[in-house]
Each structure stands twice: as structure tokens, then as C-alpha cells.
């Protein structure tokens, strides 16, 4: 059953649940952050419509900086701007930022410890028709390995909005991952969000498996929990929007309750969210575990639904993994 404290949308399982891409949350959140703090600036690499950076541009034209198609320069100019007292958000597709400008991020943002907020849009296979070049599947790993880097993967457009607003209030470097395709907006303005905190979406009296999910796949996990519950298999769903720093208390708690953990992410299964959970649990409370992600493959063209199913990232595959873990 739902965790009431999560204050999820009343339409969570309704056919007419509103849908929006998480990048919409960047558009709204960046304007809010800009209104709250005049130091916020947004840098754009020739993708202002698809990153939704144009919403910030409309509201604050003087604080919007068009960099052209130059992601390395965007990262380093932002490092300089942060050094000069600004709070820059840099926006592009995740395949290019942090994909192309990793070293610049490493040296001039992370090691230099300046508050640049890296916003990687169009992450994951659900980008769809654009194909493998644009479907970033390694960004969580790249970013979480950098000392001092906070890593956030919001579940829906509303949580993405909150994450952007919260990001502007932090002092250090930070990465937020966004998706292209519209996904259910199942959290509400009342749903708690705090950087570093996980959120139980679904629980039962004696769950047998804990499903830890991040990004929009947390909604998919919720569908699985409902389906499984209808067949008498009880689970708990922990949505983990902050991959670094991990909410170790919440993770330890569900691991202890269930003794079985499944993670799911739209990322390589190596090095990403599941790896972060495995690194923590292996050293603190080893449990049976399955990591659902893309298995050492690149993406390809297709519809988001086709691709998520092909790479094993839909409700059916989660439910199968739960059954296997219980056998």
C-alpha cells in the first residue's frame, strides 16, 4: 500500500495521470531558483527548447548565456562564473555534458570545488528514436565517482522542479539527470524532497523484497508493487532520488526488513545506482541482490516503450526479478 506520508497524486494509478518529461521540471525550477537568488545563471549549448532553458531565458534574458555547441567551454566558463560568485546551471544532453566535458568538470568544477550545477537532459534509453549516440547510460557512474559531487535523479517533473530549486541552495558541485519522454507525474507539491533523502513510496506489513528505484523508473516500480501485491507478493518500494550522498539509513532499514534487494535504473548496470547500493550493502549488511539496468550494451532507435522493454526496464521485468529472487 502507499506510504501516506509520500503524499502521492490521487491519480497515481489512474489512466489519466498527467504526464510530463522531467526536463519540464528544469524549466520551472530554474525560473523559481532565479527568482529566489539573483546569482543564478543558466548556460545553454544550443538546445534551449529541448532542455527547457528557454523558460529561464524568457524570464531572465540578462542571466541566460548562449554558449553555442561547445560543452567543454560551457563547463569551464561556468567554473569561472562560479569562481566569480555566480550559481551557474549548465544545460545540455547528458551524452555531451557530462559526456564530452568530463575532464573539464573533473578539474575545473569538482576539484576546484565551485557550485556549478550540471544538468544532463535526455538521459537513458527512453530518449527513443535518436538512438545510441544520444542515449546516455554512463553519466551516473561518471558523476558519482567524482569526490564532492552530489548526484540527483528525480522521479518526475514535479520532483525535478524541487531538485533544481534545492540545487541552487547548495554550495558545491552537483549533477541532476533528466529524461526526454513524458512520464507520469505521480508526486505532488506536498511530497517531501530533500537532497540526500530517500522516500518510501509503497510498503506492506511484511515485505519480502525491497525494490530500490531512481528516476522515472520509480513509477514503474510502483506499478510492479501493485501488480505483485494483487498476486500476494508483498514488496516495499524505496525511491532514491539522491544517488550521492546515499540515504544509508533508509537503505539499511529496508535491507534489514526484507533481506532481498532489487535495484532498477535507466543506466548501465555497472557503475551506476545499483552499484552504489551494492557497494554500501556489501560492506554493511550483505543481502541477496539483483541490479536491473542496461547490461553492457549501447541503446538504439525505437519508441521509449519498446526500448525499456527490450533492455528489461519495465514492470514485467521487475516482477520477474522479484519472483526469481523469492525462489
Amino acid at each position: 500500500m502507499f506510504n501516506e506520508n509520500a503524499k502521492l497524486s490521487e491519480k497515481v494509478f489512474a489512466d489519466n495521470i498527467p504526464q510530463a518529461p522531467t526536463r519540464d521540471g528544469f524549466g520551472k525550477g530554474s525560473v523559481e531558483a532565479g527568482e529566489a537568488d539573483a546569482r543564478v545563471v543558466v548556460l545553454c549549448a544550443d538546445l534551449k527548447e529541448s532542455t527547457r532553458a528557454e523558460q529561464f531565458e524568457k524570464r531572465f534574458p540578462e542571466r541566460f548565456i548562449e554558449m553555442g555547441v561547445a560543452e567543454q567551454n560551457m563547463a569551464t566558463v561556468a567554473a569561472g562564473m562560479a569562481n566569480a560568485g555566480k550559481i551557474p546551471f549548465i544545460t545540455s544532453y547528458a551524452a555531451f555534458s557530462p559526456g564530452r566535458n568530463y575532464e573539464q568538470i573533473r578539474t575545473t568544477i569538482a576539484l576546484n570545488n565551485v557550485p556549478v550545477k550540471i544538468c544532463g537532459m535526455h538521459a537513458g534509453v527512453s530518449v527513443g528514436p535518436d538512438g545510441a549516440t544520444h542515449q546516455m547510460l554512463e553519466d551516473i557512474g561518471m558523476m558519482r565517482m567524482l569526490p564532492g559531487m552530489t548526484v540527483i535523479v528525480p522521479a518526475d517533473a514535479e520532483e525535478a522542479r524541487k531538485a533544481v530549486v534545492a540545487a541552487a541552495k547548495t554550495d558545491g558541485p552537483l549533477y541532476i539527470r533528466f529524461g526526454r519522454v513524458a512520464t507520469p507525474v505521480f508526486t505532488t507539491t506536498e511530497t517531501p524532497f530533500e537532497i540526500g533523502k530517500a522516500l518510501t513510496l509503497w510498503s506492506s506489513e511484511s515485505p519480502k523484497v525491497a525494490i530500490l528505484a531512481t528516476g522515472s523508473l520509480s513509477y514503474t516500480a510502483l506499478i510492479s508493487a501493485k501488480n505483485l501485491s494483487e498476486k500476494g507478493i508483498e514488496t516495499t518500494i524505496l525511491h532514491v532520488p539522491t544517488i550521492k550522498p546515499l540515504d544509508t539509513e533508509a537503505i539499511l532499514s529496508v535491507a534489514k526488513r526484507t533481506g532481498r534487494v532489487i535495484t532498477i535504473e535507466e543506466h548501465q548496470s555497472a557503475g551506476g545506482f545499483g552499484s552504489a547500493i551494492a557497494e554500501f550493502l556489501a560492506q554493511n549488511f550483505p543481502v541477496q541482490m539483483r541490479i536491473l539496468g542496461v547490461e553492457d550494451k549501447f541503446g538504439q532507435s525505437g519508441t521509449p516503450e519498446e526500448l525499456l522493454a527490450h533492455y528489461g526496464l519495465d514492470a514485467k521485468h521487475i516482477e520477474e526479478a522479484v519472483r526469481k529472487l523469492l525462489n
Partner: protein, 286 residues
């Protein structure tokens, strides 16, 4: 910035020699590091920290300070030695270069040592950071001038040209870049490794104002900076033609000295050369 008198120039030249001596001592003590670039840029860094920049060693974070961004972090022995002689920290600390626990890391880290403006080493990312600072200062109506010291070798990095394009587009007149045109890089002469010329034409095509000076002539360099500050519609690049390893004739213009330090014996010989002004005087000054 006042135009320097003859006495000022003489004082600056002597200061530059002191800094060169410190560089040799630090490199010998470290046992690794870069020699040629720090020596050839010593006149320019002296001009910056002892004449051009508005700064205060007692208040490294003073918001009104001019800012010199070092892009090619590998010449940090020069930056460290200059900062120490300017009073940011004790000159003796220079001998901790590259040692465990030292604030003087092998490549500069902003947060470890007062006076460092950025973290640098990987090439090609200093000009864009300087441009980011200059852009922000102009947004906020702040007066300080932003300088970027960069190498010729790092003109091979794509990021450098992205930054040049950005600064040209935005007419960042509060940004002045200084390129150490010493013609050497690790693998050889720049024009053999990857031809860079015509550098001045390239920057002009990117909407920069370009000046060329003898980078080992302090008076000429100061005059170039004065001109750069007077240009209002464009960022300025000063191509400073320097002699790699300047001050130690036996290594001058030899690319093998780009990335290695002198041995103890070589160091003693180099110091003697500097202290006798290349053998022009018989007694070493102190």
C-alpha cells in the same frame, strides 16, 4: 598603473632574477617539474605581481583585486615563487614544492594555497574560466581586470578556441590573455608537433585585438598591457615571444627542458649563471 621609470624597470629585472633563482632551487629540491616555461615567463609574472596587478598579499580574497588566471598550470613553480616573493607566504615554503603534505602541489589547486585563482594543469581550460570571470564581472559592473596566462602548446586544445570564440562574441574587453610563445612543447618544437601559426591572424579572425611583444622585455610588456586595457570593443591577446628557459643560456630554446628539472649539479651551475648575469660579472650577487 603608472608607467614604470628606469629605476622601476631595474628593480623589476632584479626581482625577476630572484624569482628565477627560487625556481631553480625549488625544482632541484622537488626532483621533478617543468623548467623552461617558468624561467621564460619570470619577467612577465614579475611585471604582473610587482607592477601591473592591483592586489594585496595580505588579503588574497580581496574582492577588488585584479585576477590572473594561470591556464598552463605546469609552470606553477613560477607562480608559487612569484606569490612567495610578493608576500603571500614565506619564500622558504617554495622548497616544499611537490612534497607530500605541501600546499605547493605539482599542479596548482586553488583551495590549498592563498593567492591561487583556479585549479589548473589539464591544458586549454584557463582561457574559458578567465572569460567566465570576466563575463560575470561585467554583468555585475565590477571593475577589476582579468588576465589569463596561457602557453602556446595549449593552442592545440579545442577548448581554447571555444573560449576565444566566446570572448570575441561577448567583446570581453576586461579580459587580457597573455600567450607564452616560447615555441616548445614536450614532444618538440610547436611548429613540428602541430603548427600553430599564424596565431595573431587566428585570434584577429576570432575578433580579438592582438599585440606581439618581446616577453622578456618588462618595459615592453607593461606597455602592451596598458594598450590592452585601453581597447574597449574587444578582448586582447598579447603574444609574448619568450626564449624558453630564459636566464640560463645553456638550456635556452631547448625543448628537452620543457618538462624536466635540473639535477643538483645542474642547479648549482644554473644558479651561478643567473647570479653572474650569464658570466657578465665575476662576483655572484646575492
Amino acid at each position: 598603473m603608472m608607467a614604470p621609470t628606469d629605476a622601476d624597470i631595474e628593480k623589476l629585472e632584479k626581482q625577476a632574477e630572484k624569482i628565477r633563482e627560487t625556481i631553480i632551487s625549488m625544482l632541484v629540491a622537488a626532483g621533478s617539474g617543468h623548467t623552461a616555461g617558468p624561467l621564460d615567463m619570470a619577467d612577465i609574472f614579475t611585471a604582473f605581481y610587482f607592477h601591473i596587478l592591483s592586489h594585496d598579499p595580505k588579503r588574497p580574497d580581496w574582492p577588488e583585486r585584479d585576477r590572473l588566471i594561470l591556464s598552463n598550470g605546469h609552470i606553477c613553480p613560477l607562480l608559487y615563487a612569484t606569490l612567495a616573493h610578493a608576500g603571500y607566504f614565506p619564500v622558504e615554503e617554495c622548497l616544499t614544492l611537490r612534497k607530500f603534505g605541501s600546499r605547493l602541489q605539482g599542479h596548482p589547486e586553488r583551495l590549498r594555497l592563498p593567492g591561487l585563482e583556479t585549479t589548473s594543469g589539464p591544458l586549454g581550460s584557463g582561457l574559458s574560466q578567465a572569460a567566465g570571470i570576466a563575463y560575470s564581472y561585467r554583468m555585475d559592473g565590477k571593475k577589476p581586470h582579468i588576465y589569463c596566462a596561457m602557453s602556446d602548446g595549449e593552442q592545440e586544445e579545442g577548448n581554447t578556441w571555444e573560449a576565444a570564440m566566446f570572448a570575441g562574441k561577448n567583446k570581453l574587453h576586461n579580459l587580457t590573455a597573455v600567450m607564452d610563445r616560447n615555441n616548445i612543447q614536450i614532444d618538440g618544437m610547436t611548429e613540428d608537433v602541430m603548427p600553430l601559426e599564424p596565431l595573431a591572424d587566428k585570434y584577429r579572425a576570432f575578433n580579438w585585438h592582438v599585440l606581439e611583444v618581446n616577453g622578456n622585455d618588462i618595459r615592453a610588456f607593461i606597455a602592451a598591457v596598458e594598450e590592452a586595457k585601453a581597447i574597449y570593443e574587444k578582448p586582447t591577446l598579447i603574444i609574448a615571444h619568450t626564449i624558453a628557459g630564459k636566464g640560463v643560456p645553456e638550456i635556452e630554446s631547448d625543448y628537452h627542458w620543457h618538462g624536466k628539472p635540473p639535477t643538483k649539479e645542474e642547479g648549482e651551475r644554473f644558479l651561478k649563471t643567473i647570479r653572474t648575469m650569464g658570466g657578465k660579472i665575476s662576483h655572484e650577487y646575492s
